[in-house]
């Protein structure tokens, strides 16, 4: 009897405190997102997007996706902010004001996308539902076979590196192409750097 009630409670979702934290984190995220959309100062924007990443990392932790949270914190809040700051240095500090008319189309896209997302959640299985397809089918199999197949305890790593290692290979390709892309467009940094340094030295002499 108590067992059944226990499972039911688990299926019904996390308890009230977690829900409250959920709501407050999501609210903060929404506020940050709106602030990002309205701000014109690029520096503040970069900082706020870092905040946004950290908030989402927190939220991932709440959702028990620690690996994703960790990645989000390192990539979203860490390196992205640093790189965007670097990019910002090459341009102006304040974004130009949009024409109000130009905002209509993106607004429409956002509204429609949001509406479809809401629509989709109606039939989405409950959070943490062990019987949902996502949790019962392949996920179960991964959990069961992992140790026998690969022999390491972290299932996330074995899925990423072995079961779906090719995806990771592709992602490394994406990272690599990103590097190539920036180098292609901006040139090699050290060349222009040494050129400007030389100029400077020449100026001092």
């Amino acid at each position: 009897m108590s067992d059944v009630a226990n499972t039911a409670a688990q299926v019904a979702g996390p308890d009230l405190s977690v829900i409250l934290i959920d709501i407050s984190v999501l609210t903060m995220m929404a506020i940050t997102a709106i602030a990002i959309a309205r701000l014109r100062s690029l520096f503040a924007l970069v900082m706020l997007s870092g905040v946004y990443s950290l908030l989402s990392a927190t939220w991932f932790v709440i959702a028990d996706a620690v690996d994703v949270a960790f990645t989000e914190a390192a990539v979203g809040a860490g390196i992205s902010s640093a790189l965007i700051l670097g990019a910002m240095l090459l341009t102006v500090r304040v974004a130009k004001e949009d024409k109000p008319l130009k905002r209509i189309a993106p607004m429409l896209v956002v509204v429609i996308t949001g509406a479809i997302l809401f629509y989709a959640t109606i039939d989405l299985p409950g959070f943490g539902d062990p019987n949902s397809p996502a949790n019962s089918y392949l996920a179960q199999e991964f959990l069961q076979r992992n140790y026998g197949d690969i022999g390491i305890p972290n299932v996330v790593t074995s899925v990423l590196a072995s079961y779906r290692g090719f995806d990771t290979f592709g992602e490394v390709g994406v990272v690599f192409i990103a590097g190539v892309a920036v180098a292609l467009l901006l040139g090699f940094g050290e060349r222009s750097l040494s050129a400007s340094l030389k100029k400077k030295k020449g100026g001092e002499k």
Partner: protein
């Protein structure tokens, strides 16, 4: 087929064919980036893509002989691991993309000398190889998420390939930026859609998904996932009205990039759309039929007419061809939305032909632009006199675009008409006919300028394009003629493709 490529390859390679078509370019890409001499990088790129096309041919033959071929990456049997799956639906696409790739790479030699600064050429070729590998990967993968990964690889490299044109014309940057924004939007939509499908089915393998979707077909999650996937891929395939990125991207990018993208990128995206719509979802699903009849078909009709109409008024020849591309995508979508085997076969047929003719058209234009320095239509006056070979190939391909008999474009158009009439979609025939007449207008304007206008002093300086450009150009142009006289090879492929699509991916 003329040569039995399959028997020429070592026995032990045959098993790996599905991954080999992608692997060469993908692994050569970083090596290219490290090459101090760009000519070596070019030779490597050419080598990689030639091996890809040989493997693609072999794969096609293998598929024709043995049906669907599955390759379990990492040794994990699908649906646990990622699967590469070759069947009659994607093997022709692989061959198309790789053959165009070979021709485009040859064509790259003379043009990138003009378009790209020397120290950037190695990196450029590296990005190009990854773009190519990405497109091949999209075409061959049997895993919905892996498709997204390859889509990203090809998209990101495409953005940079387009933006590289910025050193000649600053507008390329804006074009690439818009493309980046819209492309990322498309990719995001796609991945959201896949997320929903995963939530509803618990798997990412396409064949597995296909078998699990019918049970949950009424779920709103599936509907939303479907909507996101169609929107995302349609954006990549430049379906009206999500085509806004295309005209500028094609106009301002380096000519080599335009040639390659116009002949492959939208085609592969179109293939991906077909794959998802026909072998993951199924046209028998009720909501899909609604989308076909009330969304895709009307959009296709508007694209075919509106963009042809816009093409008529363009003053830049590359832009004109770009709008024409969007219109032609409309043709293909029209065939697709018929949801019949004949319609799909006609669509694929038209897709292959369009790759041939648009590739050739952009190549010929590039050949003239090389010595003319302008791609304005009025500057092309009478260039046929000084560059007869380039102009003749341009003429042939342009006629194929209109759908003049004895060219490949005619046959695929007839096939589309026929497929539409089978469903009694006479209005679609009317739409395509109007669009064809508009095509006569803009192509006629181009040909008249090129062949019959009196050249000015600038045009008299035009020289024939270099041999390295003429060879791929004429291969494509002659292809348009050959397949206009005997298309039985292509139609056997596309019929096979349609069969696969309608048997739900099973051989």
């Amino acid at each position: 087929m003329l040569i039995d490529v399959l028997s020429l390859l070592p026995e032990s390679w045959v098993r790996h064919l599905p991954v080999l078509v992608v692997l060469g370019p993908m692994l050569l890409s970083p090596i290219c980036a490290a090459m101090p001499k760009w000519r070596i990088a070019w030779a490597l790129a050419l080598f990689g893509i030639i091996t890809s096309s040989v493997f693609a041919f072999a794969l096609l033959q293998d598929v024709m002989a043995h049906g669907r071929i599955s390759y379990a990456l990492g040794g994990w049997a699908p649906p646990l691991g990622i699967e590469f799956a070759a069947d009659m639906l994607n093997a022709p696409v692989l061959v198309l993309v790789s053959v165009i790739g070979v021709l485009a790479t040859i064509f790259a030699m003379p043009t990138i000398v003009q378009d790209i600064n020397e120290e950037k050429r190695s990196l450029f070729l590296s990005a190009y190889l990854l773009c190519f590998a990405g497109l091949m990967g999209v075409a061959i993968t049997g895993d919905a998420f892996n498709l997204f990964v390859f889509l990203e690889i090809s998209s990101i490299s495409t953005y940079v390939l387009v933006a590289i044109g910025g050193s000649r014309d600053r507008r390329a940057f804006t074009a690439a930026y818009n493309y980046l924004i819209m492309g990322s939007l498309g990719a995001t939509f796609y991945v959201i859609g896949i997320g929903f499908l995963y939530a509803a089915t618990g798997t990412l393998n396409m064949a597995d998904m296909a078998s699990r979707i019918p049970e949950v077909a009424d779920s709103k999650t599936i509907h939303a996932g479907f909507a996101f996937i169609v929107a995302g891929l349609a954006l990549k395939a430049a379906m009206f009205p999500l085509h806004q990125w295309l005209p500028n991207a094609y106009t301002y990018s380096p000519s080599f990039v335009t040639v390659f993208l116009s002949a492959t990128a939208t085609k592969v995206a179109f293939y991906a759309l077909v794959r998802l719509l026909f072998s993951v979802f199924s046209p028998e699903l009720e909501f899909q039929q609604v989308v076909f009849t009330w969304v895709l078909a009307p959009m296709a009709a508007v694209a075919a007419i509106a963009c042809s109409f816009q093409a008529v008024f363009q003053t830049n020849i590359k832009r004109m061809l770009a709008y024409s591309s969007v219109a032609q995508v409309g043709y293909m979508l029209m065939g697709l939305s018929l949801a019949s085997a004949a319609g799909l076969s006609a669509s694929m047929f038209h897709m292959i032909n369009h790759a041939l003719m648009k590739g050739a058209l952009f190549m010929a234009v590039a050949g003239v632009v090389m010595s003319l320095g302008s791609s304005q239509l009025k500057d092309f006056a009478g260039v046929a006199r000084k560059a007869p070979w380039t102009a003749t190939a341009l003429g042939i391909s342009a006629l194929s675009l209109v759908g003049v008999p004895l060219t490949a474009g005619f046959l695929s158009k007839v096939a589309l008409f026929q497929a539409a009439l089978m469903q009694d979609w006479w209005w679609a025939v009317v739409v395509l006919a109007i669009s064809s007449v508009l095509a006569v207008l803009y192509v006629g304007r181009m040909l008249e300028t090129v062949f019959f206008k009196t050249p000015g002093p600038a045009q008299l300086q035009v020289k024939e394009a270099p041999l390295m450009l003429l060879i791929p150009l004429w291969v494509l142009a002659l292809g348009s003629i050959y397949f206009g006289l005997d298309a039985s090879f292509i139609t056997s492929l596309t019929d096979g493709a349609a069969n696969v699509a309608f048997s739900g991916g099973q051989p």
